[in-house]
């Protein structure tokens, strides 16, 4: 099996300044201290695991004023040589936009922007699924962090169809906590995070979904990084691991507990740089 076509090159940001300094999702508690050494070790381990799985990892410089820059999945959306930077809902993260835009511009990406008044938190709320028909569809979550109205604008900029799915569980506030494409037939799906229309949309799109129970979803196992046929997970519920292995995937656990304190897992710490949405 070939596994996922994209996801061989990632952008990450070292957690030098990472900490839970504010609370913008139900997982964040400012009184909970982050163990910096442990966080750094977990991050370095994740980089090593991804490289071992065959992925290239590039990094950007951390910035003290924006601790969540470490969650590069929210930098924006990559489509070939095009980059659409995120517009963050919370003021605490809005400073990241220009840092991300500048980084991508320097690397020669075409930076194209959403209208200023619309929020969209990048690959954290939008992941591509390419079914056997070959037409890549971007699945975009909305409600907690991204505006539904941003989605058609995003579609215009990217030139690919986008299916909008409403997120309904504040604990699963980004799409990438509920949806993880595995290959052209399969994806890890957390239906409790979606409204009934969203479930119907995903059912129609993904022929063989791996449906997560609520407790499995809350373990952030959908927030995994897929490199070919290797699935790098923060923790692996037994049933989920067995199913993935039965399908022929290699499951590698890479604990990121310190980052879970901020509501982020493995996927949140990475941004795929080789995503191509349009042929």
């Amino acid at each position: 099996m070939a596994g996922l076509a994209w996801g061989r090159k990632y952008l990450m940001c070292p957690p030098h300044h990472f900490g839970v300094l504010y609370e913008i999702n139900p997982w964040m508690h400012a009184e909970v201290a982050v163990e910096h050494d442990l966080a750094s070790r977990q991050w370095t381990d994740l980089v090593a695991t991804l490289r071992l799985a065959g992925a290239e990892v590039v990094t950007m410089d951390p910035q003290p004023e924006v601790p969540d820059l470490v969650f590069t999945a929210n930098a924006g959306i990559v489509n070939g040589d095009q980059f659409v930077p995120s517009h963050f809902r919370h003021p605490e993260r809005q400073g990241e936009t220009e840092i991300d835009a500048a980084w991508f511009a320097e690397l020669g990406f075409r930076v194209e922007r959403l209208p200023a008044e619309l929020d969209h938190e990048g690959a954290g709320d939008a992941l591509p699924f390419t079914p056997e028909s070959g037409q890549t569809v971007l699945v975009s979550g909305y409600s907690f962090r991204s505006d539904a109205a941003a989605i058609p604008e995003l579609g215009r900029l990217l030139g690919c169809p986008i299916k909008a799915v409403q997120l309904v569980d504040p604990r699963l506030y980004h799409l990438d906590l509920t949806f993880c494409p595995l290959d052209e037939r399969r994806a890890i799906c957390a239906p409790t995070g979606w409204d009934s229309y969203g479930r119907t949309v995903i059912e129609a799109l993904v022929p063989e979904p791996l449906w997560l129970e609520e407790d499995e979803a809350l373990s952030f196992c959908a927030n995994s990084v897929v490199v070919g046929t290797t699935v790098v997970m923060p923790t692996t519920p037994v049933r989920v691991g067995r199913q993935l292995e039965a399908w022929g995937f290699t499951v590698v656990e890479s604990p990121v507990d310190e980052f879970l304190k901020a509501g982020g897992g493995c996927r949140c710490l990475t941004l795929s740089l080789d995503t191509v949405l349009t042929p």
Binding site: A148, A149, P152, G159, P161, K163, A164, Y197, T200
Partner: protein
Amino acid sequence: MATETVTLSGHIVDSLLLAKVLDTIVDAGVTYELVQVDIGRTNTDASTARIKVDGDQQVLDRLIDELQLHGANRVSPGTTTLVAADTEGVLPAGFYSTTNLDTDVLVDDQWLSVENPEMDCAIVITDDTARTVPMHRVRIGDRIVVGSGGVRVHAPETLRGASVFEFMSSEVSSEKPKALIVHKVADRIRAAREAGLKVLAVCGPAVVHTGGAPDIARLVEAGWINVLFAGNGFATHDIESNVLGTSLGVSLAEGTPTEGGHSNHLRVINEIRRHGSIAAAVEAGYVRDGAMAACVRNGVPFVLGGSIRDDGPLPDVITDTAAAADAMRAHVPGVGVALMLASTLHAIAVGNCLPAGVETFCVDINQAVVTKLADRGSHQALGIVTDVGPFLGHLADELGA
């Protein structure tokens, strides 16, 4: 009742966003209309839907907040542009041309309802009121709405007591049971009177030729007709038939031409001109009966509009057509039902002055007349294809006139 329009775009069909938005609207107990739906041809094309919602303003405000979550946004009404007229009787270029539908204009963040809805006019704003103005009545300095920004038009509501309309389904047909139709029209006239609204009759000369004028008189006397519009012909033949017993020289009793009858109407017009007005001739006892005499005796206002074909004309006929139209306009507010009786061009002229909310029944032996009225924009007109004389007799009987 308020109306708002929202638009939704993107992959709204595949994402079930359209379904979700419509479900949300229905759950809010609000009615909607899909004004426009453009479905993308391929699965990469975006689709767009414009959805009009009708309901209580507070409910709509809450609903629209909820719809915004799903990316459906209120269509901006735009800004109203007002331009002062700089020439008497001339509108600023690009003026907003009205329909006969209820219309609102956004002025200083407030929706003003446009008074006297009438098609093919402009909208003039004075202080905090908006009203229609026909071109020839615009004065220097009048602030006229230019462009369509800030203007919203309400779709015609389902008319009061839709039964008769459902029954006729706005089709013009000669094959509907006439007795039933007469009964339904009588119901609408009664309903208008109960609602304190006026009934307008627009009469063509064929009303007299077919023997319907005495029934008009009965309806006027019993208070079922409250204002009458006609031309020189109807009034002349009505008077001729009462003074000389002929209509256009044909005996109404015998149905045969009378000797020298072709000039009867001229002699009658001549005598009325001698009296100075129809009212004076009625008072002098020259005209004793008929529709016009009934109007005079019962204080029912009438407007006689002139045409280039008129003989005489009668002294009451307003030969300046713009002035005649203005005289008719003065009687339009408060009209609830209009009966267009065997009158082609006059009916169209009156139809142009009526708001779309006026229930209009067009009675003519010729199907084309009704179609023509609707084609000129009076979509609220319902056609009854029948001989007007017997129709009026039945209607007067039905109303107990």
